[in-house]
């Protein structure tokens, strides 16, 4: 094991139970009534939440012996780089592929793991949510760089190492939605949230992207804009990719103070 990665050190149950429970918040379709079902599973070493859900899928019978529909959830990469399996596990948002049953049982001190869909996105069914609003937010802040022209623009200017490092950190965003789920200011259309602000910052730091900075700032000056940040700073705590989200917000605050709020002083 990598000693520098002690934070992610796997914990092992000393005396693992023979069985453990998964308590799942369910819903048949969007808008339908929410209900809970508990499933009992035999304990196995190295189970994660997704492999436990796959066990249930084989034979979807609840702990009370009732046959039910298999729970629905999203998954893809299974190595915490795609972000699609994000859900609320024991009250905290994270990726279910990297959530190990041993860790969860040790942390909660109980024999039950509770699964809920993220609460800030439309709940499609069971643990599956529709996160397309994050894509809408990217469009709102022009999170891209205009390159198409009538002639070849040639290679872009070189970046300093520091800038490249910081941009790389922002570029790691996998649009999982953890920051928005944990943000107390983010719900419905109240606030655009740290995810889009960080991507706007990523593009604003690019020497070519900088030319459309005003467009991106305009995307952040609306009714749901960056001023709705409440500085609870949960985003940076829950980000699984360790993206300096708050730095993106405060750097953008400075851009806005200089270019937008006091921009008229340059006129």
């Amino acid at each position: 094991m990598n000693p520098g990665n002690a934070k992610h050190e796997k914990k092992r149950l000393e005396n693992p139970p023979a069985k453990f429970k998964l308590r799942i918040q369910r819903r048949q379709n969007e808008g339908a009534e929410v209900y809970w079902e508990t499933f009992e599973l035999p304990y196995r070493r190295n189970l994660n939440v997704i492999s436990a859900l796959m066990e249930i899928r084989k034979d979807p019978v609840t702990a009370d012996g009732k046959t039910t529909t298999p729970p629905v959830w999203d998954m893809s990469c299974l190595e915490q780089v795609c972000g699609i399996c994000t859900m609320v596990i024991d009250g905290k948002v994270r990726q279910s592929c990297s959530a190990l049953i041993d860790d969860l049982l040790i942390d909660s001190g109980s024999d039950t793991v509770t699964l809920q869909p993220m609460s800030k996105f439309p709940n499609v069914r069971d643990l599956k949510v529709d996160r397309s609003r994050m894509f809408d937010h990217l469009k709102q802040v022009n999170a891209w760089i205009e390159l198409d022209g009538s002639y070849n623009l040639g290679p872009g200017p070189q970046l300093s190492n520091d800038t490249a490092q910081e941009r790389y950190a922002y570029s790691r965003c996998m649009t999982c939605g953890c920051c928005l789920e944990a943000c107390p200011q983010y719900h419905e259309d109240n606030y655009i949230g740290p995810q889009a602000i960080a991507q706007a910052r990523l593009m604003n730091m690019h020497p070519v992207g900088k030319m459309e900075m005003e467009d991106r700032l305009n995307g952040l000056l609306g009714e749901d804009g960056i001023t709705n940040c409440g500085n609870a700073q949960n985003c940076i705590q829950v980000c699984p990719m360790s993206i300096p989200l708050t730095r993106a917000i405060y750097d953008t605050n400075r851009d806005i103070t200089i270019n937008a709020l006091f921009g008229w002083l340059k006129k």
């Binding site: 009250g91 107390p184 305009n218 609870a232 949960n234 605050n253 400075r254 103070t257």
Partner: protein
Amino acid sequence: MAIKFSKTFLLRKLHQLTGIVPLGLFYFVHLYTNSTALNGPRIFNEHVEDIHNMAYLLFIEIFGIFLPLLFHSIYGLLISGEARHNVLSYGYSRNWFYLFQRITGIFLFVFLLFHILNFRFGLIPGLNMTPVAGNADQAYRIVAGEFQIWWVLLIYFLGVIATGWHLAYGFFLFAVDWGIVIGEKAQRILLQASLGLAVLLSVAGINAAMAFVRPCGLLPQVLCEAPRVTAPATRHV
């Protein structure tokens, strides 16, 4: 493309600004005036009278205090209503501070309403009925009389603690929201300074309140010996 501000953006910036100037500035002046009670009733009443004699007093009171306070508090309540608190799931210190800022804000809305009616206007039934405004010579007596009631004193203790927190953390929030302090380390230092200021303001506020209960407040009386008056006091009735 030109920059376009939304209504929300401008109101938020105005909310952040009014909290620091004029309200924050006013609080320092207010706390200073209260603290002069440490030097005795006469000195305190003189300071109140000096305020009464200020030029443009009515304009300062309306445009420098009442209107900014009304805007800051009502818009602050609207902002507080937006929050979906989750400190039980995400118990990080900044998340708690986010909650405290809103709790102290809501408490201060009620407290200030009480405080202004109680002392500025003397309109709370069953309590003081003499407005301090216009009665500078009775200012100390009015406040000291109210502070004989234990629960009134307790409300004022809570009021100055909530103000100390809300203003000191407000300085921090202003600095980060206007992009003045950006980096993680710089924010940590500023946060510590803000928490220190919150404690300082709270202690100074409690001490000023205690000056109306016992001479020199919580301090040993030797520190508050009234300055010797060389000429007879002529300015006072």
